[in-house]
């Protein structure tokens, strides 16, 4: 079959730095073509070029065999090419429906056809099994639901080419399944799909062909058939990969964090749990279970009732700073809106949380620089120019920067919400090792994750949340995917019936 | 009851010294008259622009049922037809200071003399200075009345050979006048006198001159008789030889006459122009009102 969209010898530079080096790539109708590579390899850049958001510096784009150059993304969209961004592309103050139809509103005469749009919005979302009211504002939605809206928006337009940049990074297994089904459906209709994800099992599940990028260079393109996850990972990172999860350390005896009867109005009800020194405690649950809200309640980012004790001392409620001073910090799942100042330099982001440790009255810029060196080293942040703004890092590298920022505060207890969202497999391993090392040093870690293997692989104990409360606490051999899922969905173990 | 009345008084708000004085006199005379004539009620409004003043007048008519209106038009033109409309409803109209654009609307007109204000000052300059002497002028806020004053001033010095080096707007404001005068002093080495067409501006000008240490080189004529300035004239300060009256108390005259016209049969209609006079060390005492804020 002939390629619908093709890139020939595409390079792209930002200022003097070239990040794509003559990449060839093609996409045929009715295929799912996966693009994989490490963080910063150039996947998003490539996708943006194909989607008309960025112009190639040199090289050619071919559409249906004819050379094209998209003036802007609107031109690409007119040619039937749509893209779902790695970073959200939604206006927070607008409603779901307004975002879904932005720029292509349905009209009746000169007026908007609100009813039709709401109907269609419901249909689109229902197709994704997402039951969000179309009249809600995006700013009031949880991160996964925002992602579903983002996906629904692309599904709602008749696309010949659909480019999806890590659509599942913020989704749990259940939503991922729904999404993959939809992708299969589109494929069956002849849509060409370009897909990327750091969850290689997804790639293995749906891809027809796989292209590997490493450091801006095209490494290989081959049929997915017979390309194992392990082989993919090695092709990406260019070296042997050992076991993903390190050995679990044995937690100490003393309790460092005690949460008792914590209620976050509207989200979490009466949650109690404890965390021991040197322990990695996992939090699992479905989207909307309230894990994020519970954690935000604990560190004082949300109004909450109940008590939180750190090393036996009650924490001043409502004060993130007090929590930090007690050695408790929280790493947000929403890196773009709550984690990083995208318009600011790397150092400014890195040191913001721990700024008081950088000099006395005056900030010590040398110490900051050193901290950046160390962060780049320790978290393998791939950055070609240290003076870049945080927003120009690749998504995964932003996540690493956020992780480095949090760790710089030298927490005794760290709550990490979705620690490896958008992180490549090689780095994931490093982060897991890092978490295990923290625990081994006597620090305590809470890992909130929608990736069950991650929760299972890291934690010595797992709290399962369902609909705003802690439904179960599993430890040791009890920790299995099946057990977690059943508890999360509120299915009782004995009968297998919904409670 | 039959013999109770309401008088509406609409004046510009107290944005600078002179208007402050005018506001003071309006309030003081209202307080006095309310004592004397318990049957008269007063409505006082102050406006920062012409539109607001028209609103105020509309409100007085629609909600307060005024029997007479005393107005110092913020600007002549825009107030003309609204005041005319008031008149047409049979309400007594007294206009103060800035006349209306159409003659014969008001029953009573009480005013200062802007042409006179410029002329009297100009005459002093013409008498005192001669061929080749240099002066600078600070004008007020750009308005018709400022134009009238400056034109009259220019007419009065015409032929005297006095050299007007520069004119800038000091906007009847101390700070603006201070800045402008500082710059005049940087720009011109030889200035013999300054006409600062308002005493607020004169204060700023005097300060700038003092800073430059050029008190002995030039004198300053302000205007409208601010009490601090009058006091210095009384002391014979050579830097402020004279001043020109433009009494803010004219509003009190207008309100009193209007009240009198309502309660008594005395005919008070007509025109009262309070001429601008030259204040000199000799007569200064009679223009000194220590209680007035101006």
């Amino acid at each position: 079959m002939t390629a619908i969209l093709e890139a020939r010898g595409v390079t792209r530079s930002f200022g003097p730095i070239e990040v794509l080096h003559g990449v060839d790539f093609s996409l045929v109708p009715g295929e799912i073509h996966a693009l994989i590579g490490e963080n910063g390899a150039g996947k998003s850049t490539m996708m943006k070029i194909l989607g008309g958001y960025l112009a190639p510096t040199t090289g050619a784009l071919m559409l249906d065999g004819k050379q094209v150059s998209f003036a802007d993304q609107r031109a690409a969209e007119a040619a039937g090419i749509l893209m779902i961004h790695q970073e959200f592309n939604l206006a927070l103050q607008l409603t779901v429906e307004e975002n879904l139809f932005l720029g292509r509103e349905k009209r009746r005469g000169p007026f908007l056809d609100g009813r039709a749009m709401r109907e269609e919005a419901r249909t689109l979302l229902a197709r994704l099994d997402c039951h969000v009211d179309p009249r809600r504002r995006i700013q009031d939605l949880s991160v996964p639901n925002r992602q579903m809206v983002e996906i629904a928006r692309a599904l709602g337009r008749q696309a010949r080419v659909l480019i999806m940049d890590e659509p599942t990074a913020v989704l749990t297994g259940r939503e991922t399944d729904v999404l993959l089904e939809q992708i299969e459906r589109l494929k069956a209709q002849g849509t060409a799909i370009l897909y990327t994800s750091h969850k290689l099992d997804e790639i293995a599940r749906i891809a027809d062909r796989v292209t590997v990028l490493r450091d801006g260079t095209h490494i290989t393109t081959r049929p997915a058939e017979g390309f194992t996850e392990h082989a993919m990972a090695e092709a990406m990172v260019g070296r042997e990969l050992s076991d993903l999860f390190p050995a679990k350390a044995k937690p100490g005896a003393d309790v460092v964090l005690e949460v008792e009867g914590l209620t976050v109005p509207g989200y979490v009800r009466d949650a109690s749990f404890t965390l021991r020194r040197g322990e990695v405690l996992g939090f699992a649950g479905l989207v909307g279970a309230g894990r994020t809200e519970l954690m935000e309640g604990i560190v004082g980012l949300r109004p909450a009732q109940g008590t939180v004790r750190v090393n036996g001392t009650p924490l001043k409620p409502g004060s993130v700073r007090a929590a930090r001073e007690a050695g408790l910090v929280y790493l947000t799942e929403d890196r773009k809106d709550k984690g990083l100042l995208l318009g600011k330099a790397l150092t400014e982001n890195l040191t913001l949380l721990a700024l008081d440790t950088f000099g006395g009255v005056f900030i010590d810029p040398q110490a900051e620089d050193q901290a950046l060196d160390q962060a780049i080293e320790e978290f393998d942040i791939r950055v070609k120019d240290r003076k870049l703004l945080a927003g120009s890092l690749s998504g995964g590298n932003q996540q690493k920067l956020l992780m480095a920022k949090t760790m710089l505060a030298k927490p005794q207890i760290v709550i990490i919400d979705e620690p490896t969202r958008g992180i490549d497999i090689g780095t994931k391993q490093q982060i897991y090792e890092f978490i295990a090392a923290l625990a081994a040093q006597g620090k305590s870690v809470i890992v909130v994750s929608s990736e069950l293997p991650e929760v299972i692989g890291l934690s010595s104990r797992v709290c399962v949340m369902g609909r705003g409360h802690i439904a179960a606490e599993l430890s040791g051999a009890e920790i299995t995917e099946d057990a977690i899922l059943r508890r999360a969905m509120g299915v009782s173990e004995t009968t297998g019936e919904p409670a | 009851q039959e013999d109770s009345y309401t008088i509406g008084v609409a004046i510009p708000s107290a944005t600078h010294g002179f208007m402050g004085g005018l506001n003071y006199h309006a309030q003081a005379s209202i307080a006095r008259l309310e004592e004397t004539y318990p049957q008269i009620e007063f409505v006082l409004t102050t406006a920062g622009d012409a539109g607001k003043m028209v609103n105020d007048i509309e409100d007085m008519v629609a909600t307060r049922g005024i029997d007479a209106l005393v107005v110092l038009p913020f600007e002549s033109e825009p107030l003309t037809s609204p005041v005319q409309a008031v008149k047409e409803q049979g309400i007594w109209v007294t206009v103060v200071d800035r006349g209306l654009a159409v003659e014969g609307i008001e029953d009573l007109y009480v005013a200062g003399d802007n042409t006179g204000f410029g002329r009297v000052a100009g005459e002093y300059f013409a008498e005192t200075l001669g061929e080749g002497d240099n002066i600078v002028v600070l004008r007020g806020i750009p308005t018709t009345l400022d134009n009238e004053r400056v034109e009259a001033f220019e007419a009065a010095i015409e032929g005297s050979g006095i050299n007007v080096l520069d004119m800038q707007h000091g906007n009847w404001n101390r700070d603006d006048a201070f800045n402008v005068m500082q710059d005049f002093l940087s720009k011109y080495d030889d200035i013999d006198a300054v006409w600062a067409a308002d005493d607020d501006m004169a204060i700023g000008v005097l300060e700038a001159i003092a800073q430059a240490g050029r008190e002995d080189d030039m004198w300053v004529v302000g205007g409208a008789g601010m009490k601090e300035i009058i006091a210095r004239i009384m002391e014979g300060d050579p830097q402020i030889p004279v001043n020109v009256t433009y009494p803010p108390a004219q509003i009190a005259t207008a309100i009193e006459l209007t009240a009198l016209g309502l309660v008594s049969a005395t005919p008070v209609s007509g025109r009262f122009i309070i001429g601008s006079q030259r204040i000199t060390p000799e007569n200064a005492e009679q223009f000194y009102f220590p209680d007035s804020p101006f």
Partner: protein, 334 residues
């Protein structure tokens, strides 16, 4: 599950929204009750029409300002632009009397000139902001100085007045109306209704909000952001022209001080009405309420001579803040 009412993404947070929405309305009602209790003529025909008619200028402008602010912009030049438009309109009409005589053609010509001048001034702002890319605050602050000084210059430091006969002919456009409703009120109402519909029921309104909420997103959603941004200023310019058409027959003149502080009043009305100053959300009907609140404060201060006139500004300031406190009740800083 149990009785827990864990909120989900399925239900909009109605309660909170409602108080915020209704806040300005409550403030307005409170003012009306206060006015009525202070003076029996307050709700009379004359006072009501007076207040509404005079609100029309700021009102019409504030509706345009709602779009500008919703789109993430600001316009400080509207007051002086109104003065300038009025000046140009008056000069043109005076100049045309020998040609057109006094009558409908003259007034029509004047109106056309006012609208065009307003649109042109708005376009200039829009181009500098949307195309050249200068901060709206600076462009319109500069423009504010420019128009005010140009008007003073045109008027030679004084006042520009419409020829007396022309004015008498034109006067009914402010003072007369339809079925006892003065024209300015009718025009204001029409602009408000059209504005409300445009904001809520058309793609244009959504695009303004999207632009104000997140320009990047709007751009990626095929919204022509530069054009939309520019259009908000042009629209506002046109509405300044329209407001001037109502204003000139009222006072028949223009000077450098015409329209002083209208910009602040208009912006205040917009914000009191619930539009977000940083853009992304606009509420036209709220703006109408905001304008009425501001007008009523002045009106009520005139109803009862309760205080020293020097303190009017204090009372106004406090009421404006209170009107918004009411709106923000229970909502924390954002």
């Amino acid at each position: 599950m149990t009785d827990t009412t864990v909120e989900s993404d399925a239900t909009p947070r109605r309660g909170a929204l409602r108080l915020q929405t209704i806040g300005p309305v409550l403030a307005l009602i409170a003012l009306i009750i206060l006015g009525a209790s202070l003076n029996s003529n307050f709700l009379g025909y004359a006072n009501v029409t007076n207040v509404l008619a005079r609100s029309a200028f700021i009102g019409i402008i504030a509706i345009g300002m709602t779009f500008v602010i919703t789109g993430g912009g600001i316009d400080l030049s509207v007051g002086s632009m109104a003065a300038f438009v009025a000046g140009v309109m008056i000069m043109t009409m005076n100049a045309l009397i020998p040609v057109l005589g006094i009558g409908v053609p003259l007034v029509a010509a004047g109106m056309a000139v006012a609208l065009l001048t307003g649109l042109a001034a708005g376009l200039l702002n829009g181009v500098l902001i949307a195309k050249v890319g200068i901060e709206a605050f600076i462009v319109t602050l500069g423009a504010m100085g420019v128009y005010r000084s140009l008007t003073t210059w045109l008027a030679d430091g004084g006042t520009l007045s419409l020829n007396f006969d022309a004015r008498s002919f034109y006067r009914p456009v402010y003072y007369d109306g339809l079925l006892g409703v003065p024209w300015p009120i009718i025009v204001f109402a029409v602009v408000a209704i059209v504005g409300e519909i445009a904001m809520r029921k058309t793609a244009y309104g959504r695009h303004c909000a999207a632009l104000g909420a997140n320009e990047q997103v709007a751009r990626y959603s095929a919204v022509r952001v530069d054009a939309v941004r520019m259009s908000t200023y042009v629209l506002l310019g046109g509405l300044v022209g329209l407001a001037t058409i109502m204003y000139v027959p009222r006072l028949g003149s223009a000077s450098g001080s015409t329209g002083t502080l209208w910009e602040l009043e208009a912006i205040a009305a917009v914000i009191i009405g619930g539009t977000v100053l940083k853009g992304g959300f606009g509420r036209v009907w709220g703006t109408v309420i905001g304008v009425l609140i501001l007008s009523l404060i002045d009106n009520i201060l005139n109803l009862a001579s309760i205080v020293s006139p020097y303190l009017n500004g204090t009372i106004q300031g406090v009421i404006v803040i209170l009107a918004v406190v009411l709106q923000r009740q229970g909502k924390s800083a954002d």
